[in-house]
Symmetry: C2
């Protein structure tokens, strides 16, 4: 396709001193990161080929030939179901949620079957009992297939959901319960693979060197994507093209590197907030996916040398134009503590013209004859301009269109940017030690064996004072 010769565009002019003065980045500051850039690109290259570095996601675009075949043939069957439900949380949920929002009809589940060509789709990424009940209220088990996803196989939330669903399926279908559930997990270790073997479930595997938040282009994201009718080969092709284009140790030729460098300099200048603001409803959840990637990868207490650093930029999701009426006041006038990344779409998949009819009201009729497309594009340009005029750093990623290929590019761009930023900050971007305390406290509160000491610690923690409670 001619269109696909195009590439995502990354424009960071309005991060620069030339436009936003003292709040901006100087040429000198860019040059000062030259060694850092070189080191990061070399580190990534070296770490990629040595073991145990959790960089397996870099190779997923080209090393999944057999997996893809299996995904496609399984998906072809599952697509006939009326309901398809993912049970997963965090990295097992956000990738496919964002692809679903981006590539399926915005009211997919409300379309007639003849118009949607794929099952109704739900991602259950919470354990709120009302949410689970609400799902059970609307699906028909007979016509439902579940995909339970947890790499470790020990995610309490997902396993709880699985136990509830498996119990219902077994009660109703006995040994045929397995026809209603597919497991995506580690191939050799963890509870879920053991259970899957016992129950003879169809399984997909998550490579050991791919972490949850980088797993969208493994079967975690690709299998549900295929069930929903997406072209998963195009997603991977987009990833591959982006990955290849981001290998040079020079930010002027490497989009991910440029993206990370500008974030890094701004973070060092005290911008501790990074806003992701797509101008398309279809990309709303892409901002959620980015928030996990950026927040969980880079928010770290210790650096690689064990020193306490407490780094990390807080990701914030916003949506254009909607949040112009919510957050732009703050972004324009509040503290100089953030950068904004816009995602722009060149060609929307619909075009709607604003009709006339009220010529007697000039402040209405100036809109007539324009399209919504022009309106949303103008508002994006205007917002970018207004922020720049107020010396607020902002940058724009432009997608030629929202399709599988460009989303593949976009996701790989963001994963690479995150990896490079990890090298700049000298932290491990691929672990999440900070969630252990909460997990252990949960186990203790639920009376899990082996957590008696933690339970004791909780019981003996300083009681809350009534003085600081109002009711």
């Amino acid at each position: 396709m001619a269109q696909e010769k195009k590439f995502i565009k990354f424009d960071y002019n309005y991060m620069m001193e030339n436009y936003i003065g003292s709040e901006g980045i100087t040429e000198k500051e860019l040059v000062a990161t030259k060694m850092l850039q070189k080191k990061a690109v070399i580190s990534l290259k070296e770490d990629r080929v040595s073991n145990g570095n959790m960089l397996g996601w870099l190779d997923l675009p080209h090393n999944q030939k057999d997996v893809i075949r299996d995904i496609l043939s399984t998906a072809k069957q599952i697509r006939k179901a009326e309901y398809f439900v993912v049970l997963g949380i965090g990295g097992s949920a956000l990738g496919i949620m964002s692809l679903f929002q981006a590539l399926c009809h915005l009211h997919h589940n409300e379309l007639k079957r003849s118009k949607r060509k794929a099952p109704k789709f739900y991602v259950e990424d919470n354990i709120d009992p009302e949410r689970m009940q609400a799902l059970l209220d609307i699906i028909d088990l007979d016509k439902t297939v579940f995909n339970v996803i947890t790499k470790s196989g020990s995610t309490s939330e997902t396993i709880s959901q699985f136990l509830i669903i498996m119990d219902m399926l077994k009660e109703k279908y006995g040994v045929n319960a397995k026809n209603h559930i597919i497991a995506t997990t580690d191939e050799t270790s963890g509870n879920l693979i053991n259970i899957a073997k016992k129950e003879d479930l169809k399984t997909f595997y998550i490579p050991k060197d791919v972490g949850g938040r980088f797993s969208v282009i493994s079967p975690v994201g690709l299998f549900p994507a295929a069930v929903l009718g997406m072209n998963i080969k195009d997603i991977l092709r987009g990833c591959l093209d982006m990955e290849k284009s981001c290998r040079k140790a020079n930010m002027f030729e490497n989009m991910a590197l440029a993206s990370a460098v500008t974030q890094y300099i701004m973070y060092k200048k005290g911008k501790n907030i990074s806003v992701m603001m797509p101008y398309a409803d279809s990309l709303k959840l892409m901002a959620d996916w980015y928030c996990q990637l950026w927040g969980e990868s880079l928010g770290k207490a210790k650096n690689l040398y064990g020193e306490t650093v407490n780094v990390g930029q807080t990701p914030v999701k916003a949506i254009g134009v909607t949040d112009q009426h919510s957050q732009i006041q703050l972004y324009t006038e509040g503290p100089y503590d953030k950068i904004v990344t816009f995602i722009n779409v060149e060609e929307y998949r619909s075009k709607i013209t604003i009709p006339g009819g009220y010529e007697e009201f000039p402040s209405v009729s100036f809109l007539s004859g324009h399209t919504l497309n022009e309106l949303i594009s103008s508002e994006k340009k205007a917002t970018e301009y207004a922020l720049m005029k107020n010396k607020r750093p902002n940058r724009t990623i432009t997608l030629p269109a929202v399709n599988e290929y460009y989303l593949g590019q976009l996701m790989m761009l963001m994963m690479l940017e995150t990896a490079y930023m990890g090298y700049f900050l000298e932290i491990d971007a691929f672990n999440q030690p900070g969630v252990e305390e909460g997990k252990n406290a949960t186990y203790a509160l639920l009376g899990r064996k082996g957590y008696e000491a933690k339970a004791k610690e909780l019981r003996s923690s300083k009681p809350k004072s009534q003085r600081f409670i109002i009711e």
Copy 2:
């Protein structure tokens, strides 16, 4: 109802030095705000009775008797429609979106008509052409009623949507188009009231002294709420009870004041991020509503004396437990730059027990016999504890249940907290001057008459350099 004798609970123990050490608030710091507290409470009381202060929302809980009657009788008719669509953005959308999410079934639009007792519901708060097309794909105009909401009557986004819909309605129904659309706007000024008069539309009015982000308890939120079958009198009763309980000039007896004081002290200590994290899917959009309220009200360049201050805390929305698998790593280990406000729910409206079946896997079977309710509550407690142990300030608002009455309390609490915080920061919490630049630039880009100078300015602004663009 006995349950309703209860009140929302506000617990800020884990903001205090006693628990989180040097990151916490000292008794001395609380005492030091005593005069500030007194001044704020007096100012609010005085400003409330003098004109032009945009504090009309304080009186909405008790001064809308006739309005309520009109809302209820109109809603009774409209409820028979199959589709009900709000056209609005920002403050005209977020309030009803959050109430809808909180009080209707989580899959309301996918329930059979017999199970939902109200029309399918959509809030169109963006101008993405794909979004508008997606709506038109699924509704049937014959069975649809629209509620167009803009106080000023000049919101480009909403007026554009209105022009598109009105054109379709007129084409199909001629003069009977008016049976399909209701306008909520200012009673005397603006385009929408003029158009409504011309077209003989049914109208509801937004009081002049109530701004968009405080308008959820005016017809802006209450009319759609009534159509959806909510008990709007209970919402207002909750607001009134909260408002009355928050008049004392002493933070130990005034929840909104305590809430604002703790935010203020933390903001002064450099916590420029405020996370709102409900542990309930039903309250997810309540966090969005709060983000507008907090961000747009308090993010200001100038204080009341015209001095440049560039204040404002950036609100961030998160959801428990889901975001434990996305953001908690950062909140626990990243910079000490934020406070977290949890919203806790005592009684969920469903209860689901986790069944047994895999006794051979102890790290699975410890979950069996617990309810999802216990699991989500334990995780909330565990997260709060883990943050505290890591010296991360956090506080908890507990709702006895999610219903109209307690949501009324919650919304009034947050609006009052915002107002008090505005007094502390000495800024005008009720305007939004920072959005003008972007609006004017949009007008200029669309060629609106009167904006020729701005268009010229845009044309002559420094062109972007190809050096900072990669594609």
